[in-house]
Each structure stands twice: as C-alpha cells, then as structure tokens.
Symmetry: C2
Subunit: 109 residues, 2 copies
C-alpha cells in the first residue's frame, strides 16, 4: 500500500546528516538548535532535514514554549525494514528471520 512511504524513508536515510540526526535523537528529545550545534550546517538546514524526516514518518515534533522538541517516531522504520527483509530474505539468513518477525506481528500488505 505505502510504497511512497518506503521510498520516503529510504531517501531520508540516504543523507548522512539526517542519519546523524536520528542517531542523536536516540539519546532523547532535542531541539532544532541543540541538534544543529553538533553539526557543521546552519540551523535552517537542520530544520529542513527534520521536516524531511517528519514527512517520512521517522520523527515527530512537539512545541514546548518557544522551543520545538523532536523525537523519533516509534515504528517509523517498520515498513522499510519489512521491504528489506522480503527482498533480502533469500540471501541473508538474518533478514529472513526478520521477515518472519514482521509477518508474525501483522502488518502485511
């Protein structure tokens, strides 16, 4: 059903800055400026990247006063992971098991 979403997620993960942002967010919520502080790009660039990640369903935001807190969206990588599992299952034993996991827990198209 959501081939677009899968593509959006993979495209989002294709950018090293965005992967770095996601890695940073694994440590907890953070603001745009806070995230930008640890990167060699401007705050605006980070803001755009977060928008892209949000559009891909990988992060969500929440206002807190004048700040905006971002956090990783639970399950956002589910569908892409399932796609990889299905395509790679035949050649990768581990992905084959992942495929079983996803098949068992419902979400199939």
């Amino acid at each position: 059903m959501s081939d677009d979403r899968v593509g959006a997620v993979f495209s989002a993960l294709g950018d090293p800055t965005r992967r770095h942002l996601l890695e940073s967010l694994t440590h907890g919520r953070a603001t745009i400026s806070g995230l930008a502080a640890g990167l060699p790009v401007t705050r605006q660039a980070v803001s755009k990247h977060l928008a892209t990640l949000g559009h891909a369903g990988l992060v969500r935001s929440e206002r807190a006063g004048r700040e905006v807190l971002f956090e990783i969206t639970p399950g956002g990588m589910g569908e892409p992971a399932r796609w990889m599992a299905e395509v790679g299952a035949e050649w990768d034993e581990r992905l084959a098991r992942l495929s079983e996991l996803f098949a068992a827990e419902g979400g199939h198209e």
Copy 2:
C-alpha cells in the same frame, strides 16, 4: 566503518525504479534489456540504475557472451539493516530482535 556504504545503500533504495529492479532480481538473474522491458524507461536509464545498485554493493554483474547478467549480492543489505535495527531498536520490538540477530552473528563496530 562503512558509513558511506550504508548511505549508498539507502540512497539506492530511495528510488522506486531501483527497488523495482531489485524485486525483479529476486526471481533470478536478468539482463539489462530484459529488466528494461518491464519498465517505462530506456535501457540506458536501467543501466545507470544497475550501476548505482552495483556501487552500493546490492547487485553484481557477470558477462555471458554479449549479455551481462545481473544478480542480487548476498548480504548487501546487512549493514544498513543493522543500522536501522540499532537506531530503531528502542521503539520497535521487531527491530530490537533484529539487532540481536546481527550482534550475535558478528559484524559489530
């Protein structure tokens, strides 16, 4: 170690045509022209896509006379899958288990 490779794979998977090519290749080896026949793009475009997939380590080619046969590279999605598992493990029970699978079978950085 291979952050570049992870990025290359995700970027490659971000394109719907390339995902379609990989899905086609799950049915076995195929030639460029054969793959292009089922797509709305030219043979040259498919050739470029296959080169991109090859550069990402997802497919490999083999000459056979005047034809070139492409096939999926075993394990090509391993590292990106591990990355997704590590980042998403905290929010996705299934990815958490995948992370365990990859950790158990070695390749950790």
